[in-house]
Amino acid sequence: MSLHDITVKDQLVTASKHVTLLITAFIFVFPIFYIIMTSLKDSNFVLSSPGLFDFKHLTINNYLRISHSSLKLWRYFWNSTLITISALIAVVFVGAAAGYGFAKFRFPGRKILLILIVLVMTFPVGAIVIPLFIVEFKIGLLDTVIGLVLPNISINLPFSIFIMQSVYQTLPAELIDSAEIDGCSPFRTWWEIMLPLSKNGLLVVTVLYFSVIWGEYTIGKTLSLTSGSMPLAVGLTLLRGEDWDFALMSAIILIGILPSILVFLFFRKYIQSGITIGSVKG
């Protein structure tokens, strides 16, 4: 076998790898591609041509119809925005503080608390929404935005704590000591020195949990009853029966998933490292 044969064979193997990956990747993006194309179709032609490449009838009409319609879409969008932003701020900063506390200080009960947090993480959300429904009903939080924000914080805090803990473990403890000698209070040491140093970790948690909270379904489905508090990920699934207009539905879904897609395209590497750190620690 000459050297030349090996390279030809290698090239063939490499080419077939690329083809396989290309096809696989295409299958995975196809559903997104499908709703983009369908959302740009004239509603009247969806029935006659369910194919994708009907460029004769391309239109942005569906998006105009959404903006003029009385659909609850914007209400859901607003609720999701409120829930995601407020829960995210708490998940990131409260989680970072705890991660710092667990990583850089030893105190009695620290180990037990960490084990407890891991144990709690394995329970499905379904196990906590039943008691939460009863409690929130009794104290008047049921079907309110704040009643949805609070559980969204608590279910995501454990992972945030573990990710931030592993970030703070990599920062030298001498920084804390020297800040202390300079007369910094513990809170200022964290807020002004350690927090800025952990900004990569903060970004990982922010980006990862933005998409998690934006897409949260179980809490929304159980603790929200009306469009007054209902998040998008739940509300849009209710449109299914009301409006069986494929082009319009596609446009609505696309608006619903657009924030997630944008975050993904800009911060993909952070999402990937968040998944990896989270799995090692969790």
Binding site: F107, I153, F264, V280
Partner: protein, 292 residues
């Protein structure tokens, strides 16, 4: 009075964790405890003013309830199916991705994009694609492949179940991310040495790469199994558990029992049984892979 430096540091550390602990105790641990109490009670929120303690009656009832037993069996089907789909296929993809030099970013974008799409909206997209009369799947089968066949995904139970299992794999990019990261840590010198010794690519995968990512494989398997056990959103959005209960998972049934039939006690029982199943399967896996 001066506190010792260690005591001071202990208090500081605890104070930093306190806000999180308040959230976790009040919104996770307390509900889990309350849920356990409810699982030992009869509590129909429409008729009962407060939970009535019934001991283990709900648990005994569950094991004689055909709806519960069938839902549990179905949940196991989802979990078991997640091994080939949720572990082996991602492993294959990850091996391919880590063995090429160019364009892997482009493929990764496609494979990972579904991870961040809200599960309920992703399921809704599949409802459109699979719709029998004007969905894309049947258009593809009839107009492009010219088959005289109409695929009806939600008419018979087996087809519905398989369809939902397949649709649930749309987000397997999550496992690929983990496996690609694991494969990056494989000892390169060892691989080069094996190459010089004449080991072909398959041998290098089987005898070097896979043994070295055993820990990652354990994590991925647990993740895929737990995801299978927790299947809920897809039947909720796509099939409502139908046709004829064929796609009712345990998670789905506990939702229906609690929030549609208002039997909060019995639903909590189901939630606890599901939690125990999840806990056991992750312990079992750690043992099976002999991971510390």
């Amino acid at each position: 009075m001066e506190l010792s430096r260690t005591a001071q540091k202990s208090i500081t550390g605890f104070v930093f964790t306190l806000p999180s602990l308040i959230f976790i105790f009040s919104m996770l641990l307390f509900p889990l405890f309350y849920s356990f109490v409810l699982s030992l009670s009869k509590y129909n929120v429409l008729y009962d003013t407060s939970p009535v303690f019934v001991g283990f009656a709900n648990y005994i009832q569950a094991f004689g309830d055909p709806l519960f037993i069938n839902a549990t069996l179905r949940t196991f089907i989802f979990a078991v199916a997640s091994i080939p789909f949720g572990v082996l296929i991602p492993l294959g993809i990850a091996l391919l991705l880590s063995s090429i030099r160019k364009f892997s970013d482009i493929y990764e974008i496609g494979l990972y994009l579904p991870i961040i799409i809200p599960l309920s909206l992703g399921s809704l997209i599949f409802v459109l694609i699979l719709e029998p009369s004007i969905g894309y799947v049947n258009y593809f089968l009839q107009q492009i492949l010219h088959l005289q066949y109409q695929f009806q995904w939600n008419v018979d139970g087996v087809t519905s179940l398989i369809t939902i299992i397949l649709v649930s794999q749309w987000q397997l990019g999550y496992q690929v991310v983990l496996l690609v990261a694991g494969l990056k840590s494989v000892d390169h010198e060892l691989l080069e040495a094996a190459k010089i010794d004449g080991a072909n690519e398959i041998q290098r995968i089987l005898y070097i790469k896979i043994p070295q990512i055993k820990g990652t494989l354990a994590v991925v398997t647990i993740f895929a199994l737990i995801k299978g056990f927790k299947t809920f959103v897809q039947p909720m959005v796509m099939s409502l558990g139908g046709p004829d209960h064929a796609t009712e998972t345990l998670y789905f049934l506990l939702y229906k029992t609690g929030f549609e039939m208002h039997r909060m006690g019995y639903a909590s029982t189901m939630a606890y049984i599901l939690s125990v199943l999840i806990l056991l399967s992750s312990l079992f896996n750690l043992k099976a892979f002999k991971v510390e």
